[in-house]
């Protein structure tokens, strides 16, 4: 009788240990497989510290290239507004009747064109800057480098960048409610910045920037 009880207890203990250990073992196995794959392909293992350092360097480069107001905007709101430079509109054949238009530039999300006077969204331009050398297995630039690449391309050759992008109607990838909220945040930020005087935009953010990533 005692033996049966001991055997039953042992079975229960083994079963519980198995249940507990299986997920842990699976994770370890996945990690080992990943490391072996990286060794074979020559890709170093994922290092979150490296990604953070890369983003920090990218932020410094962005800061050194854009205007102070734009840097403050990105730091506080997580996106940039870039004014359109074409007389008729972003694309060939458009005629906005001379109305100014602008783009919202998010990291790793489509560029959103809109009319600042009415907050009407015009289009989404999905564009990426894939580095096919993939030094760490990914073709994706740090967030701030992606924003800087878009900024430089829009400033340097707007037509060329828009020509390379895939055009979508608003709402395809970026939630229009989020864009409207961001436009409101931008207006608040600008008002506060004007009130506080130039160069005091740092404390003007309605909410902290969350330069979240998505897929462009």
């Amino acid at each position: 009788m005692q033996t049966a009880a001991l055997v039953a207890t042992a079975i229960v203990v083994v079963a519980l240990l198995w249940e507990t250990a299986t997920p842990w073992l699976s994770r370890r196995l996945e990690l080992l497989r990943g490391r072996r794959h990286n060794l074979v392909t020559g890709i170093p293992a994922y290092d979150p510290g490296r990604e953070r350092r890369a983003e920090q360097r990218a932020r410094e480069l962005l800061r050194s290239c854009v205007n102070d107001e734009e840097w403050g905007m990105y730091r506080d709101l997580g996106f940039l507004r870039v004014w359109g430079g074409q007389a008729a509109g972003p694309e060939v054949g458009w005629d906005l009747g001379g109305a100014p238009y602008a783009y919202l530039v998010y990291p790793h999300k489509p560029i959103v064109a809109y009319l600042p006077q009415t907050s009407q969204l015009l289009n989404e331009y999905c564009v990426e800057f894939p580095d096919e050398t993939r030094p760490y297995g990914s073709a994706r630039l740090p967030d701030s480098d992606d924003v800087l690449a878009k900024w430089m391309a829009l400033r340097g050759d707007e037509r060329r960048l828009i020509g390379e992008a895939n055009l979508h109607l608003p709402g395809r990838q970026v939630d229009p409610r989020k864009v409207q909220r961001d436009l409101w945040r931008l207006r608040q930020w600008e008002s506060a910045r004007i009130t506080q005087g130039s160069g005091a935009g740092a404390a003007a953010s309605p909410s902290a920037a969350d330069a979240g990533s998505g897929d462009a």
Binding site: A54, A58, L61, F129, A139, L141, A149, R155
Partner: protein, 83 residues
């Protein structure tokens, strides 16, 4: 003049540096410029206007780089994103 290249996982990397007034340096920079463009990079020059505004110019040849430029930034050429 410095050539910087945006890289995934790095941020920017210094890929070449030299004085365009020195013939040897200039030759090396021209060669590196061409190599980057051959690899499919776009080249941008951050510039500051007379009014202090910061802008950027995309250049397609070494000769297009404005005189006195301190740095040229190379980044992967744009491609259409998710369909």
């Amino acid at each position: 003049m410095k050539f910087l290249r945006m890289r995934p996982g790095y941020g920017e990397q210094l890929i070449a540096e030299g004085d365009v007034e020195v013939a040897e340096d200039e030759e090396r920079l021209v060669e590196e410029f061409r190599r980057q463009l051959d690899q499919g990079m776009w080249a941008a020059v951050p510039v500051e206007t007379d009014t202090g505004q910061r802008e950027a110019t995309l250049v397609q040849t070494f000769e297009e780089i404005p005189a006195g430029t301190a740095r040229v930034i190379f980044f992967p050429r744009a491609a259409g994103g998710a369909r």
